[in-house]
């Protein structure tokens, strides 16, 4: 119970953002926009009070008796109407709703596979600082860098001073993946067969070409796609492919192929030229911005096939560009409309690491982006750039549809419905575990380790330490298991005050407010 006698699992979350007052009731999934009076009164009401005081007077005086100051904000006569509105929501199950979802927590234990992340190449033709740093650390023979896009995981494990001593994963070094391995076409085809064989009744299957830089293993990519396309009808399945690329090797032929076959394409670019080129140099130390931007633009311009238009530009921000809203705006100015800018994830020792002390600046940047995306003041600062049609990934939330609660209990499904495949065909819970022998789940040519699969199927918001009482749990789904593992040596440990959780909650606040505005319910923030 909190100090108002409300069980934390049914507590509401309320926040003010740029003049709007928002109320989230986690367990019902409802979202409300309040005026200041209702917003303040919510501090005084409880389920018990709603139950006991039906009418205006008794409840009003019960509130006022406890808070003299409140009486000036909220005269009793007006408060009566306000109280009645809140009580009506409570009675309709839209405020202080009970958490009744735990019974669904273990409904995915026998879930079939639906997606694979294929590490087709561990080699890369860029030397991004947040990735290459790992190579330096790992040249001590402890581990090999995996992915141009996998900014984080192994650095922690490589650094013995940080790695949790009680962790059972110290045997990480044994992995047989080397720095420059590529997956053979045969292994990729075996992976497609493996996915189909473990997919049960599921008809929609996904494969994600990842690296390193997957364009460096182009023959493997095309072999896997051709094999799946040739057989999907007879299997009764439908494949969706995604590719993530740094763009250096894109040419007209590859662009045409990607636009014909990949339902999603993720293009890595960090934002402004100066920011991008510091963090993402080529092997000979030159910047990559000028090489890749025209290629990405060309790809997007010709990405018109129905069902194959999804794409986004995915960048990383670090402590070096804590004014990252400018990078999002620059990407929009370059003509990109689907933008994701992610915080770098690395040990606190890195000079570019994001730490708790950066949180105020990060919140400020998210507020700035919120204003930009509402089409308000900030857009004037960027030469009339219209923010309409810009899809900033972190501020997306579907308030009216969206995934069912069963899906929301465990997020990504890593280790259970989704696996990663290393170049040698070994399977791991996801791309961030690749190379960790304690999490080796078998191989695409052998059987799958069911005990690891079961462990992940039971890793959900109710089995993670801080999630079951967090207001964000049905949106966040308990965060990233790999990140928990890397921070604490335990996939089920979370800390609601960690940088990751604080950023997640701030982004959700912005996303919910933006969605409310788009549904025309929120206060007009532009007028505030």
């Amino acid at each position: 119970m909190n100090d108002k006698g409300i069980s934390p699992t049914r507590a509401i979350h309320k926040y003010e953002l740029k003049g709007g007052y928002y109320v989230v009731d986690p367990c019902s999934g409802s979202v409300h926009v309040a005026d200041k009076q209702a917003y303040d009164l919510l501090d005084k009401v409880t389920p018990a009070r709603f139950e006991h005081y039906e009418g205006v007077k008794e409840a009003g005086s019960a509130c006022l008796a406890e808070d003299k100051e409140h009486s000036s904000v909220c005269p009793e006569s007006e408060q009566g109407g306000c109280y009645a509105e809140l009580r009506e929501l409570y009675k309709a199950g839209l405020l202080f709703a009970e958490d009744e979802c735990e019974k669904y927590a273990e409904t995915s234990i026998d879930a079939p596979l639906k997606a694979l992340c294929l590490h087709v190449s561990h080699d890369c033709n860029l030397r991004c600082r947040y990735c290459f740093a790992k190579e330096v650390l790992c040249n001590e023979g402890i581990h090999s860098p995996q992915s141009e896009h996998d900014n984080y995981a192994k650095e922690v494990l490589c650094n013995e001073g940080i790695h949790s001593p009680q962790s059972e994963h110290d045997s990480f070094a044994e992995d047989n993946v080397s720095d420059h391995t590529a997956m053979s076409p045969e292994t990729a085809i075996a992976a497609i067969d493996f996915l189909v064989a473990h997919s049960g009744e599921r008809t929609e299957l996904e494969a994600d070409f990842f690296g390193g830089e997957p364009l460096m293993a182009w023959d493997t990519v095309t072999a896997a796609v051709a094999y799946a396309r040739a057989n999907e009808q007879s299997w009764g399945k439908r494949f969706r492919f995604t590719i993530t690329t740094n763009g250096l090797l894109l040419d007209d032929e590859k662009i045409a192929y990607i636009n014909a076959e990949m339902t999603n394409c993720v293009m890595s670019l960090d934002g402004r030229r100066s920011v991008n080129d510091i963090m993402r140099p080529t092997a000979n130390g030159k910047g990559s911005f000028d090489v890749v931007v025209p290629k990405f633009r060309k790809l997007i311009k010709t990405r018109t096939k129905e069902g194959f238009t999804d794409h986004y530009i995915r960048g990383t921000f670090t402590a070096f560009n804590l004014d990252f809203a400018e990078d999002v705006i620059e990407l929009a100015r370059l003509g990109f409309r689907n933008i994701s800018l992610e915080p770098v994830t690395c040990t606190n020792e890195a000079d570019y690491a994001i730490t708790n002390e950066h949180i105020p600046q990060i919140y400020e940047q998210y507020d700035k982006l919120f204003m930009f995306l509402t089409g308000c003041e900030h857009s004037q600062e960027v030469n009339g750039l219209d923010s309409k049609g810009i899809n900033f990934f972190h501020f997306n939330v579907d308030l009216t549809g969206g995934a069912c609660v069963i899906r929301r209990l465990r997020g990504c499904g890593a280790g259970n419905e989704y696996l990663a495949v290393a170049p040698n065909g070994d399977c791991y819970p996801c791309h961030r575990f690749v190379g960790n022998s304690a999490y080796n789940m078998g191989s695409v040519s052998k059987t799958l380790s069911l005990n690891i699969k079961e462990y992940f199927s039971k890793t959900h918001i109710y089995s993670k330490s801080d999630c079951s009482e967090c207001w964000a749990r049905f949106y966040c789904s308990g965060g990233c298991n790999a990140s928990s593992y890397d921070c604490y040596g335990d996939c089920r440990r979370t800390d609601s005050q960690s940088v990751e959780c604080l950023m997640m909650k701030k982004r959700l606040e912005c996303a919910i407010a933006l969605a409310a505005m788009r549904l025309n319910v929120a206060n007009e923030v532009c007028d505030s």
Partner: protein
């Protein structure tokens, strides 16, 4: 829903419980939420049923 209200308006009253009753089909896409891919929350995912 309660848009005649003066003090608090409901944006969505969607009941999570109702989604459980018809949910769990597994047709929706996988989504990595880690920053190393993209922090796409599940709440951002469409139901594909």
């Amino acid at each position: 829903m309660n848009n005649q209200n003066q003090h608090i308006k409901t944006v969505t009253g969607k009941s999570l419980k109702e989604t459980a009753e018809k949910g769990g089909c597994g047709k929706c896409r996988a989504s990595c939420q880690s920053a190393c891919k993209t922090s796409c929350t599940v709440a951002n995912q469409p139901c594909e049923r």
